[in-house]
Amino acid sequence: MRIWLMDRRHDPERNAAAYVSGELSRRARQWFERHILDCDDCWREVLLGRFGRRVAEDAREPVPPGLRDRVRASILLSAD
């Protein structure tokens, strides 16, 4: 997976987003983890990104009871 910083584009937003989403290759991740120790901008973006992601995941809601049956029934009806 590409990391923008390694292409000499210092882009804390995209790098932090890819890092927090776990989408960097092992090599890119190791490189970025060394980098954030020296780069306040990337460090801050990673902290904010992690917190925001945790908050976003907390917004997940369970499927209401009965919705699966309703959808199943509508598919069966349209199949007839």
Binding site: A18, S21, E23, L48, A59, V63, P64, R70
Partner: protein, 176 residues
């Protein structure tokens, strides 16, 4: 092994994605009934495509894209007409806890979270819904949103940062 009918095959392949579709649909609608309607519409549209032999390699991004397209048109329709929001619509289900005080706190947290999500620009909300709630990769989200992956990464990060800032100010507001 008995042959499955088309609809059985479809339901077997797609019902596991219901959680994803519901949470994505939730980002486009304010009322729970509308969310459920959007989920049903999504499944019916997906079933029609399935019957036309348009079968995806991976169900999740495929059905998420269908929901996204329907949700966007519904959302735009929704913006033009007044939205009635009843108290019941804002009644967030609290986790099963014996202590009513804790249950009330949990419901308030959920309310703050929901409102913070609502305040994000649509494209950031959609990026968060696809990646953080639906579990798509940013490459899959980029295909679903018909946008370059770099743009999705930016929207995703700005959305996460926005949520962090909004929730943080909420926490500080309570403490002060």
């Amino acid at each position: 092994m008995p042959l499955r009918t088309q609809h059985e095959e479809f339901l077997h392949a797609t019902m596991g994605a219901m959680d994803l579709v519901y949470n994505l649909a939730r980002r486009f609608t304010q009322r729970r009934e509308d969310t459920e309607d959007l989920v049903q519409e999504t499944y019916l549209a997906a079933y029609r495509a399935w019957c036309e032999h348009r079968r995806p390699r991976r169900v999740e991004p495929w059905i998420a894209t269908i929901c996204l397209n329907l949700g966007r048109s519904r959302y735009r329709r929704g913006v033009r007409r007044p939205i009635e929001v009843s108290i019941e619509d804002r009644d967030f289900r609290a986790p099963e806890v014996g202590d009513p005080e804790r249950a009330a706190e949990a419901a308030m947290d959920r309310q703050a979270l929901y409102e913070a999500m609502e305040r994000l620009p649509e494209e950031q909300r959609v990026a968060i819904a696809l990646v953080d709630l639906a579990g798509l990769s940013t490459a899959e989200a980029a295909r679903a949103m018909a946008t370059p992956r770099g743009t999705v990464l930016s929207r995703l990060h700005r959305g996460r940062r926005g949520l962090a800032a909004l929730l943080w100010s909420e926490v500080r507001g309570v403490e002060e």
